[in-house]
């Protein structure tokens, strides 16, 4: 326990302890390999979960760490998906370069819109993100000649990764690919939140009014994290386009923006792992419940969401860590 050791702890040791890898973290990432052995028939689902988790991670960076609530984050996911899909259709199907294109397109649009985002807060900001989401969705819908509109983008063909790992029917390559990209991006995000910049973001979240009084340019910080978050969302969208070899309007619609907020709130906001956990719960629940009843699968999600925000303000992850702290506290 950090708090109780008091003066015995040096500032350096304190900082290092805050960024050290915990046993649970390592166990979590090892567990992501389990689907290969335990659920080989569900690797396509596992791949979708990894992609959604990456998307949730991108939202956590702005919502959980800078306090920017976005209801239009699917705009960047969809931009990445369409960019990767269109690139593979008209240029070539090499996946890694396609992913870079997805990241750059989403990042550039994210940077352009960040100038608006950084100027507003609260309800105004939420409405702006919502509006931007609708805007991009309608653009994709009306640009039928290139996106396929409501019919979806057809004719996406992705080459094998490194010209060797072919995307197979069972999702073996898809999950491996998505998982590696998720893990690498997670490492970047983890480094980011433990950096001076990550501290500044938490400062903005905790008290935006104090930031100018310590000489901080909050808007520059917000523009930067929004651009980074959009880029990561674009990578997630690109992954979905590449692993499913199609892009539908569903990748860019409001439902996706709303779902990712739900996942993040379920898992726990501002914890990096909250989005990952939320994505797993949400996607598995959707898969299982829609198997039972394809029309009402949202019902249990709704019940879970209400229960979590009422009884577990820190999300499921927050509840788990309190439970763990309680168990540790009781031990001598």
């Amino acid at each position: 326990m950090i708090a109780t050791t008091g003066t015995a702890l040096t500032p350096h040791a304190y900082l290092q302890a805050r960024s050290r890898w915990g046993v649970i973290e390592i166990a979590f990432w090892l567990a992501t390999l389990l689907p290969f052995f335990l659920f080989p028939n569900y690797l396509s689902l596992a791949s979708q979960i990894a992609i959604t988790a990456l998307f949730a991670l991108s939202l956590d960076l702005i919502l959980g760490y800078a306090g920017i609530v976005s209801l239009g984050h699917a705009a960047f996911f969809g931009l990445g998906a369409y960019a990767a899909g269109i690139f593979s259709k008209f240029v070539w199907g090499e996946p890694l370069s396609g992913l870079v294109v997805a990241a750059v397109v989403a990042g550039v649009v994210g940077y352009a819109t960040s100038f608006i985002i950084a100027r507003f807060r609260h309800l105004t900001l939420i409405m702006i993100t919502l509006g931007l989401g609708f805007l991009v969705h309608e653009l994709a819908n009306s640009a039928h000649f290139i996106t396929g509109g409501a019919d979806g983008l057809q004719g996406v063909r992705i080459w094998p990764i490194f010209n060797y790992f072919r995307f197979d029917l069972y999702g073996y390559t898809a999950y491996s690919y998505s998982l590696v990209v998720l893990f690498l991006t997670f490492l970047v995000a983890r480094r980011l939140i433990n950096s001076p910049f990550g501290l500044a973001l938490r400062g903005i979240r905790e008290n935006p009014n104090r930031m100018p009084a310590i000489g901080a340019s909050s808007r520059a910080h917000i523009r930067k994290i929004y651009t980074i978050s959009a880029t990561i969302a674009g990578i997630a969208g690109g992954l979905l386009a590449q692993t499913t070899e199609t892009v539908s309007l569903g990748s860019i619609d409001f439902q996706r923006s709303a779902d990712v907020v739900v996942m993040l709130v379920l898992g726990g906001v501002g914890k990096l792992y909250g989005g990952l956990l939320g994505a797993i719960i949400f996607m598995v629940a959707r898969d299982q419940f829609s198997g039972l009843n394809p029309q009402f699968w949202y019902f249990p999600i709704g019940v879970l969401l209400v229960a979590v925000v009422m009884f577990l303000p820190g999300g499921i992850l927050g509840g788990l860590s309190r439970l763990l702290a309680g168990i540790r506290g009781r031990r001598p």
Partner: protein, 249 residues
């Protein structure tokens, strides 16, 4: 010698209410100023104007020789004009050490760095630790700010101000809400700050004002009534009338 901070003809009104009228002050380097006046005299407004949290309707503000009237608040802080708040304006979930380290990172321009861990910047953390030590806050510096005692939070306000390496420090009622016996200790800490820092503090307790200020500015109704040494202020009949007089009947 140029003053550390000065204003010329500063004006501000909210609708028909005049909150600052032709304010001209000049604070020499290293001097401890008290800003006193009845409630609603415009003391906090003056700090808000000087730090850029409010935009004046007219007039100029100089930090040293530089006209800072049009600068954003954060750019004034970066130039050494720093304030604290009457009502705690802290980062509840950050520890005291993190808060002060953040202020140092912003001052040194390393806050935009996202690809290196904070632990690579040991000097910033060490400096934050030293500042907290000088204000007797190290014992609780790893705890979230919201868990600190109120008096400690008031000290953390000052610590955040010091982290910006101010040349001028404006303290808006640093002892607000602190019991009288503790406020002496708080002001002793303020009195112990480097003599390179010009300090202006707002305070209502006259014992504290006369003990810790070398000069006093009296504001009434958005105007500067007068400025002088504690003795001059104490003996001035106008002050007795509008300020002390109103209290002591």
């Amino acid at each position: 010698m140029t003053a550390a901070l000065s204003t010329r003809g500063l004006n501000k009104r909210f609708g028909s209410l005049i909150v600052a009228s032709d304010i001209a002050i000049s604070l020499p380097r290293g001097v401890r100023y008290a800003l006193i006046g009845p409630n609603g005299a415009g003391k906090t407004t003056l700090i808000n104007l000087m730090t850029g949290m409010l935009k004046p309707d007219g007039g100029q503000i100089f930090l040293g020789d530089e006209d800072i009237t049009r600068l954003e608040p954060q750019h004034r802080v970066q130039r050494g004009l720093v304030r604290t708040f009457q009502i705690n304006t802290l980062f509840p979930d950050l520890s005291a050490l993190e808060s002060v380290t953040l202020a140092i990172c912003e001052r040194d321009g390393i806050a935009p760095t996202w690809w290196r861990g904070l632990s690579s910047y040991g000097a910033a953390t060490d400096e934050a630790f030293e500042i907290l030590k000088s204000l007797n806050l190290v014992n609780d510096c790893y705890r979230p700010t919201r868990e600190l005692a109120y008096g400690q939070q008031r000290l953390l306000e000052i610590a955040l101000g010091l982290a910006a390496k101010p040349s001028v420090l404006l303290l808006d009622e640093p002892a607000a809400g602190v019991p009288k016996d503790e406020s002496q200790g708080l002001f002793t800490a303020i009195a112990g700050l480097s003599r390179d820092i010009t300090i202006l503090f707002i305070e209502h307790d006259m014992d504290v004002v006369f003990r810790f200020a070398s000069r006093i500015i009296v504001m009434v109704g958005g105007r500067i009534l007068l400025e002088g040494t504690p003795q001059e202020i104490a003996e001035d009949p106008r002050v007795r009338e509008v300020y002390l007089g109103s209290r002591h009947g």
